[in-house]
Amino acid sequence: MKKAIVGILALIFCFNLTTATASDKNLKISMVTDVGGVHDQSFNQSAWEGLTRVKNELGVKVGYQESKQDADYDSNLETLLDGNNDLIWGIGFKMADSILKSAKQNPKQKYAIIDYSFGNTTPPNVVGVMFQAEEASFLAGYIAGKMSKSNAVGFVGGMSVPIIHSFQYGFKAGFKYANPNGKIFEQYAESFTDAAKGKAITTQMLNQGVDVVFHAAGAVGDGVIEACKEKKKMAIGVDRDQNYMAPDTVITSAMKRVDNAIFNISKDFLAGIYKGGTTVNYGLQDGGVDLAPTTSKLVPEKILKELEAIRQKIKEKTLIPPATPEAFSTMFKEKK
């Protein structure tokens, strides 16, 4: 064993050919994806689109580091730390612990994280970015309420966690707002990857008379959309504009513009503005969430006009879509 250790140490000294580190004055911004990877058709991909825009429009260097396992977050952050990055993005709430640890150990490095808020305990070198997904989901729910002929819609969630609740209760509220007597079926797939399960759940819902299904379940949603397409019913996409997956089926998508958030915060950062220690909320107001541009293809003019009025109300905060079960029940108790 001793020999092996001596051997390894000898190797360390012999091959001290550290790769050339970027020493130019150019700024560099990089991100670490969560286990979804950079081609996940969802927020990681959207984040990378945002950074690519930063590169093209603002001319700084960008890069990414993909994680395959939860245990990769720490070592990927270290790799970026060694790569002379000026700002490091963590994509997704799964990275919260690693970002926090890394930020505390490297107080001079600046970080930002998507989908997580450290609240009052945010370190001064971290910016949290949250999306008010309930606002876009409310609009999607409204469309579902108005377009359902059977007065029954479905929601397929990935897992029962707060991030998904904001989609679920926003959607439910929007639906009830449009169609107070309608019925809503809700189910969790307990997965973000199992498309076959999404399809099975959706088919069952459709057989019970549901004709619009909204999902907030990552790749499980591929199955949801497929089932709706096969049965010629309506589906509502999530995170990105998913209309391209089934152009006659996906009537709208509740988009979370991770790309806009990354672009804006990176742009501010390059201009010297960095709100360390705080959490930034992105809602309808600042283009952080919205319905997909393809919504106008399948949703009638009349509903679009009504949506415009609701959008205005949400922006003015006279209508606040619920993001939690508690907020949802108070909203609808007050009405009764």
């Binding site: 360390i12 091959f15 286990v35 890069g63 897992m159 307990e190 990552g218």
Partner: protein, 369 residues
């Protein structure tokens, strides 16, 4: 078949070379500079103490799951279930590490033993099913993998264990941590001292932990069991020829169960050291993380002895760690990197092919004479 250990070594060496060559071809097709890519990988294995430390940390669970698969191989069983046993070990360690808070000298062995014990039972299920109901272990362990997977996802979400508003469990108590100098290295005194010793500081920046010692002890344990005890003799006899072993008076059914118990314990130790040394908690899994499946590759590369999995595990860990460095250095898409690693593993996993080829050549020569 390669019969001497010398031939085995040359076969493994040639398959690694073949893997690197074909891997280079993959890089070439993807339009990446081959020489530079391998240089980056080589540098990110050895050029800094930090990298070496990371490779050791990454290899630890692979060595243990590799030992698990290799051990079951010796009894003629194919333990696909290392993944599930890893999950059970990790879950038990996370539960015990969180709910028990004793003195570290008592806590660490207790948490580790609990995790190993429970995952041994988990592995034993497949052994029992095979021995008494002729359920093929490949089928039952695949099923048990999914059972373990969903069991973990269920347990993580239980109130009291789950950390509020997250997809993860609470972290284990510090007393159950295997990480070296965990508190000290971030304390003011530690930071001050480490500033004067940059090499050690670089090494300790990685979550270096006692897992590697446990892995090495486990390899010694495997060696002793297999080669120095009558239990090991009968296990190997069952692996060579179960019918002959039964005729010779060995209780084949019992040995199969024992073998799976031990294999489960080894993979469970991998999960436990991973939680106690690196991750600190368990989280909802969207898909299997692959520590157990990589263990199959490690066992194939290393051969089913007790020492092979150590080298193969370190090799595999080094490939995985240095592969991830390609992304930042060359902007290589991770898919290409994983195809390349896959190709190398593919070739290294079949030294038998090279053994067969050399056998064939020998036979031809003998025939010609």
């Amino acid at each position: 078949m390669p019969n001497s250990s010398y031939e085995k070594l040359t076969a493994t060496f040639f398959s690694i070379v073949a893997g690197i060559l074909v891997g280079g071809l993959v890089l070439k097709i993807a339009g990446l500079p081959v020489g530079e890519a391998y240089l980056v990988m080589f540098n990110s294995m050895f050029s800094r103490a930090n990298y070496v430390a990371h490779i050791i940390v990454k290899s630890t669970p692979l060595i243990l799951t590799g030992l698990s698969v290799a051990f079951a191989f010796r009894t003629g069983l194919f333990n696909i279930g290392a993944e599930g046993q890893f999950i059970i070990g990790a879950t038990t360690a996370a539960l015990a590490g969180y709910f028990l808070d004793l003195h570290p000298l008592l806590e660490i062995p207790l948490v580790l033993l609990l995790a190993v014990f429970v995952s041994a039972l988990w592995g034993g299920i497949a052994g029992l099913l095979k021995a008494h109901f002729a359920v093929h272990e490949v089928i039952s362990t695949i099923m048990l993998n999914w059972t373990a997977f969903y069991l973990q996802n269920y347990l993580v979400m239980l109130e009291g264990f789950r950390r509020p508003n997250s997809e993860a469990s609470n972290s284990i108590n510090v007393s159950a941590s295997l990480t070296f100098f965990e508190n000290w290295k971030y304390s003011d005194a530690g930071i001050l001292w480490l500033e004067k010793h940059p090499l050690l500081a670089d090494f300790l920046r990685a979550p270096v932990n006692g897992g590697i010692i446990i892995a090495l002890l486990a390899a010694i344990f495997c060696y002793i069991i297999l080669h120095k005890t009558s239990l090991g003799f009968s296990l190997r006899a069952v692996g060579h020829n179960a019918d002959a072993a039964e005729y010779g008076g060995i209780k084949v059914k019992q040995k199969m169960t024992t073998s799976m118990l031990i294999a489960g314990a080894l993979a469970g130790a991998a999960g436990a050291t991973h939680v106690m040394g690196v991750s600190r908690n368990i989280a909802i899994l969207a898909s299997m993380e692959g520590y157990g499946f990589d263990g199959i590759a490690v066992a194939l590369i290393g051969g089913s002895g007790a020492w092979g999995p150590i080298l193969a595990g370190l090799f595999f860990g080094a490939l995985k760690y240095s592969g991830s460095k390609l992304q930042a250095a060359l902007e290589a898409p991770s898919e290409v990197i994983y195809i390349m690693i896959g190709v190398i593993v593919f070739f290294t996993a079949m030294p038998k092919l090279f053994g067969k080829i050399s056998d064939l050549i020998k036979k031809r020569r003998a025939h010609a004479r």
